[in-house]
């Protein structure tokens, strides 16, 4: 059952990702990115990261992607559907990406037997994920938390200033 769910979510994620980068219509691409992000949230739930599962849906799918869809609707030109979608470097880029992927795949494949960290991982899993995430966030990682909030404030101000019409 566990592996069935894992294969379902991973096939959904990979298929949606491939569909997203190949769509001519950007709104369809955004919808497929939403499906990919939901599949990723499912993977998080499978890894027993419950808080991250919900945060992924609320923030990524319910926040960032709404932003993307709004901007796509504002800049979508009808004429752009008939233009060339892929740039002039597409073959070189694809070969490069395949080489990179092959390199990393070789690295993972060679070391695959030493990655099973087994019982230590099982024993240390906290039963209440949200509570342990909250405690770690506010005790050990308090400084990055405050820095992240300042970062969000700066990003908010920057985005508002840039998107305003200069009257």
């Amino acid at each position: 059952m566990n592996s069935l769910l894992f294969y379902f979510f991973s096939i959904l994620a990979i298929a949606s990702a491939i569909l997203m980068v190949t769509r001519r219509n950007i709104v369809h691409g955004a919808v497929f990115l939403i499906t990919t992000l939901l599949a990723t949230a499912g993977i998080f739930l499978q890894l027993q990261a419950e808080f991250l599962f919900v945060v992924q849906i609320i923030l990524y799918v319910g926040g960032i992607m709404v932003l993307f869809v709004f901007v796509i609707m504002l800049v979508n030109l009808d004429v752009s559907l008939h233009l060339v979608q892929f740039n002039r470097m597409k073959f070189v880029s694809t070969i490069l990406a395949v080489v990179l992927a092959g390199h990393l795949f070789a690295a993972f494949w060679i070391t695959r037997n030493s990655l099973n960290l087994g019982p230590r991982g099982e024993a240390m899993m906290q039963p209440r994920n949200t509570e342990s995430v909250g405690q770690a966030l506010f005790q050990n990682y308090m400084l990055p938390f405050e820095i992240a909030s300042i970062l969000l404030l700066v990003a908010m101000i920057g985005a508002v200033v840039m998107a305003k019409r200069k009257v």
């Binding site: 709104v27 419950e50 808080f51 709404v66 609707m73 949200t130």
Partner: protein, 442 residues
């Protein structure tokens, strides 16, 4: 109940069964909430409402559903066919998915998630896509404007509602819906009496979340020709409508669980028994309510003008008597059955009271203009919700760490501080009398 049913069935078959029941009953329930709304609207406007289809209009939802099913399915010429099909389906799916985490009683829950409350919040935030993609796919100006306005409204009020939920959550100490109701039982008080301002913020936020009046500018007929739903007809429109009313029930269920005590009866810890038996006095309240309803029906029956209405009124009275007998019988059943049935009764009663408040507010207040709406959300509700979280957090820390043990005084002081802040913010939140320029504002 845990020892009676083998764990394998309990883990897999029961949730599927509950899920099937919810999905099968929900369209019927949504249809009858529509009928209830029309009858309540008529009553508040001193008229009768639907009376023709079936006695007292009771078969009206079935007639409406049939009409919508056999209507012609019109797709605009340049509409994006994939998204045009997808958007109502998305809206309904998200509304139904939220039912997975709602506790209808101590027993009837499809899945008791550790993060149940956040899960429902996440699913509600996914409902925006049904609206935005539907407005875009229709390829029409009214639809797109209505969809963008509706999405902006939803995103704004979702923040305020979430922060109001956080203030109730701090009192409960857990995200699991069952634990939240259990915490209200343990503390002996419904959270609405401890954080009334939080409940008020959630009430306003949930009205805006479900696009109900007075926040229904994006779909009002006189404003934008039904907004993002303009180009949808027949069954697709029925799906949007179903999603909207299912969403209303979900939001009412969250408010009931978090603030109104969930499936607890009033004064849940008061245990005065009836004349030496093991029945608690307050557990007879459902029976008394149903008997009163039956008496009212039987009193009304001879005064109906038409024969069929007399018969149906008498039948409804009989149904109330049967329900009263069922409630009393459940008191003698084993614990799980008694808790299950009475818990479900109180939960549904509170959900319907909340929905009645929605209907009442709809027919009382005039509609908000869009800039007034955004101003209210961003400049009044969100600061108020933030201050609410800070004040409630401070009070809890005072109670737990510094041994301040006066709960009623804390509640009164908290509410007084919040009302002061609200009075200060209200000057910000009221819009100027001339409308701001839409879209080009600086």
């Amino acid at each position: 109940m845990n020892h009676v049913i083998p764990p394998s069935i309990q883990a897999y078959v029961l949730p599927v069964l509950y899920g099937v029941v919810v999905v099968a009953l929900l369209p019927l329930l949504a249809g009858y909430i529509v009928l209830l709304e029309r009858k309540v609207m008529a009553d508040m406007q001193a008229r009768l409402g639907p009376m023709r289809v079936g006695p007292h209009g009771l078969l009206q939802p079935i007639a409406d559903a049939l009409k919508l099913l056999i209507k012609e399915d019109i797709v605009p010429e340049k509409a994006d066919r994939f998204l045009f099909w997808c958007a109502p389906v998305l809206s309904v799916t998200m509304a139904l998915l939220a039912y997975a985490a709602i506790p209808f009683g101590p027993v009837f829950q499809i899945a008791d998630l550790n993060v149940g409350l956040l899960f429902i919040l996440a699913i509600s935030s996914l409902g925006i896509y049904g609206i935005v993609l539907g407005g875009w796919a229709s390829n029409s100006h009214y639809s797109l404007l209505g969809a963008l306005r509706s999405a902006a409204q939803l995103v704004s009020y979702e923040t305020a509602a979430g922060l109001a939920l956080v203030s109730g959550l701090m009192l409960a100490g857990s995200l699991s819906m069952k634990d939240i109701v259990q915490a209200q039982y343990d503390q002996g008080v419904w959270f609405v009496f401890v954080v009334p301002v939080g409940f008020f913020i959630y009430l306003v936020g949930s009205i805006a979340e479900t696009n109900r009046a007075p926040f229904d500018l994006p779909e009002a007929e006189s404003e934008l020709v039904a907004g993002y739903m303009t180009e949808y007809s027949g069954f697709r429109w029925a799906l949007y409508f179903l999603g909207e009313y299912a969403n209303m029930v979900v939001v009412a269920a969250i408010a009931t669980t978090l603030f109104l005590g969930g499936w607890l009866r009033p004064f849940a810890r008061y245990q005065d028994h009836l004349f030496g038996t093991s029945i608690e006095l307050l557990d007879l309240l459902p029976t008394i309510l149903f008997l009163a309803a039956a008496a009212y029906c039987f009193w009304l029956a001879p005064r109906q003008p038409v024969q069929i209405q007399k018969i149906v009124m008498a039948l409804v009275g009989g149904l109330c008597l049967v329900l009263a007998a069922g409630m009393t019988g459940a008191l003698f059943a084993p614990d799980a059955v008694r808790l299950g049935i009475h818990g479900a009764f109180w939960f549904l009663a509170k959900v319907f009271a909340y929905i009645y408040a929605f209907l009442w507010i709809r027919f009382t207040f005039p509609r908000y203009r869009f800039d007034q709406l955004m101003r209210l959300g961003w400049r009044f509700l969100i600061p108020l919700a933030l201050v609410n979280v800070i004040v409630v957090g401070t009070t809890i820390v005072l109670q737990q760490n510094w041994e301040w043990r006066h709960p009623m005084l804390s509640a009164i002081v908290t509410t007084a501080i919040m009302l002061g802040v609200a009075a200060f913010l209200a000057r910000e939140g009221s819009a100027p009398s001339e409308p701001a320029e839409v879209g080009e504002g600086n």
